[in-house]
């Protein structure tokens, strides 16, 4: 975005960036909630979902938000009020911090960190903090158990995620997300330039591990024990109501969107199309209209990935806490390590 807005004064740039960040977080979150949570889930259960608010219930989300905003902001009597109020905001802030490294086009980005992937993984772990203190400060046993479970799970799946990303980083030779996008779109598979080199093919295991880890990080079924409503009522969210619950709710789906964006950047070629289609060779050649087409391409890829996340969420029962940990430590991490090893050997050989 800096490249686009060179003439705009600094305060204007900052304002636009904040607005852009809000759009980049809230728009996917809203779309995901409507398309997948309201409609796809209902259709999978042979019903129509919300139909009353707006055509095909498209305004339902606003109705829900309005409802949540009206509700009383309840703080339990014995809770640690200040921390209790702070927790959801930490979770949402983590999402906003995450979105700033995602590139949406050749010049459409918020920040261009050299260590973009690393940064994304780092700030995504901040949300653990929010969840943990939400669970603790609610003064509720279910919340505490939920918070502890969430923290244990998020830490356990942080590791396979980092390791899965490592394969991509080795292949691309950079941690910068923009450069990873370019590397995928300028590369070639088996000598064919036309499809570029999306790492979903060469890093297939990495992709699968990454998606599983995302599923766990987002606490979606089959990894949703922290909020398991049939066991822990709602886990760390049990005591939250109104506005603060809404923040958790938005945070959940916004994070799903942002993680899917990062996955599409890492494995599906991000905002780009294979550069050979238009005869581009490097990022400098990319036409300016990609700044507008890019976000749309990105959005499509994101929706595709979220579709898979949600499809699995609506189909599977949940694992038990110890099975989840076992799966992470005994299944995903060794495979991820093996993947890194093979990738680096192949990288050196070829």
């Amino acid at each position: 975005m800096i490249g686009l807005l060179a003439e705009v004064p600094y305060w204007g740039q900052s304002l636009l960036r904040v607005l852009g960040g809000l759009v980049a977080v809230l728009l996917p979150a809203g779309t995901i909630v409507y398309v997948f949570l309201f409609k796809m889930m209902s259709f999978m259960q042979s019903r129509l979902g919300p139909m009353e608010a707006g055509p095909y219930g498209s305004m339902q989300l606003f109705a829900e938000v309005g409802k949540w905003l009206q509700k009383e902001d309840i703080v339990p009597d014995r809770a640690d009020a200040r921390i209790f109020k702070m927790a959801p905001i930490i979770v949402l802030v983590s999402t906003f911090l995450l979105v700033v490294v995602v590139p949406f086009g050749p010049d459409a980005w918020f920040t261009d960190f050299e260590t973009g992937v690393f940064y994304a993984l780092a700030v995504s772990s901040v949300s653990v903090l929010g969840i943990l203190i939400a669970g603790w400060s609610s003064a509720n046993k279910y919340s505490l158990l939920g918070g502890l479970r969430a923290a244990g799970q998020l830490i356990a799946y942080e590791l396979p995620m980092v390791l899965a990303v490592m394969g991509v980083v080795i292949q691309a030779g950079t941690m910068n997300l923009q450069k990873i996008v370019v590397a995928q779109n300028t590369g070639s598979m088996f000598g064919i330039d036309a499809i570029g080199h999306p790492y979903v093919i060469s890093q297939f295991f990495g992709f699968i591990i990454f998606m599983i880890a995302i599923q766990a990080e987002l606490t979606q079924a089959p990894f949703d024990m922290p909020i398991a409503e049939s066991e822990l009522v709602s886990g760390y969210m049990t005591e939250y109501s109104g506005f603060r619950f809404l923040i958790f709710f938005i945070g959940e789906f916004a994070t799903a969107g942002v993680f899917a964006m990062i996955a599409s950047v890492l494995f599906l070629g991000g905002w780009g199309v294979p550069f050979t289609w238009f005869g581009w060779t490097s990022i400098d050649d990319v036409a300016n209209w990609m700044n507008f087409a890019g976000p749309l391409i990105m959005f499509t890829k994101m929706m595709l990935l979220v579709f898979f996340i949600m499809w699995i969420r609506f189909s599977y029962p949940r694992l038990r806490e110890d099975q989840l940990q076992k799966f992470a430590w005994k299944g995903l991490i060794p495979v991820a390590l093996l993947n890194i090893m093979v990738t680096s050997i192949l990288k050196v050989v070829f």
């Binding site: 014995r78 640690d80 260590t115 690393f118 780092a122 772990s125 943990l132 942080e158």
Partner: protein, 164 residues
């Protein structure tokens, strides 16, 4: 540079205040959260010091893992909601002069040795590649040693925390 200076002072003030709260608050979980503020501030200072990679590592390891471990630890040892009275021991009175004396000593030493020396203006961000070249070049042996330390820590922590 002015913006960086202002940034430094704001962050430094917040950090010092938060650090004081860490050692004075009567609530273990609050102390941990104040420590998060200190660590986040430190990460910001690292960026000011042109160490982006270290800053990100700081966030990943400290805020993402170490602080969560701390919170885990406090919750598993039944941290109460609200304040606890017996967090300080009888050396509390001794601690203040000790800390002040050390601060004065260090302050004198720092002023006399660096005076008003300035940091280089044209610092470029240290790239990840430089760091990795260093780690896997001259500092390989410490890296190996560190790996063993981590392995030993993992094994040790598991052995300690096991029930049977």
């Amino acid at each position: 540079m002015i913006a960086q200076n202002i940034g430094f002072w704001i962050i430094a003030t917040v950090m010092i205040f938060a650090a004081l709260r860490v050692v004075t608050t009567n609530n273990v979980v609050h102390a941990a959260l104040w420590l998060v503020v200190v660590l986040a501030g430190a990460a910001a200072q690292y960026i000011l010091l042109a160490a982006e990679f270290v800053a990100v590592t700081q966030v990943l390891v400290y805020i993402g893992a170490v602080m969560v471990l701390f919170l885990f630890g406090t919750m598993l040892t039944r941290a109460k909601i609200g304040t606890e009275s017996d967090l300080n021991n009888s050396y509390k009175k001794l601690g203040i002069p000790v800390a002040l004396v050390m601060l004065v000593a260090m302050g004198v030493a720092l002023v006399s040795s660096f005076g008003d020396e300035k940091l280089p203006q044209t610092a470029t961000v240290v790239s990840t590649q430089e760091i990795s070249d260093q780690i896997f070049g001259p500092y390989l042996l410490p890296f190996w040693a560190l790996s063993f330390v981590l392995l030993a820590a993992v094994v040790g922590a598991i052995v300690l925390a096991r029930k049977d």
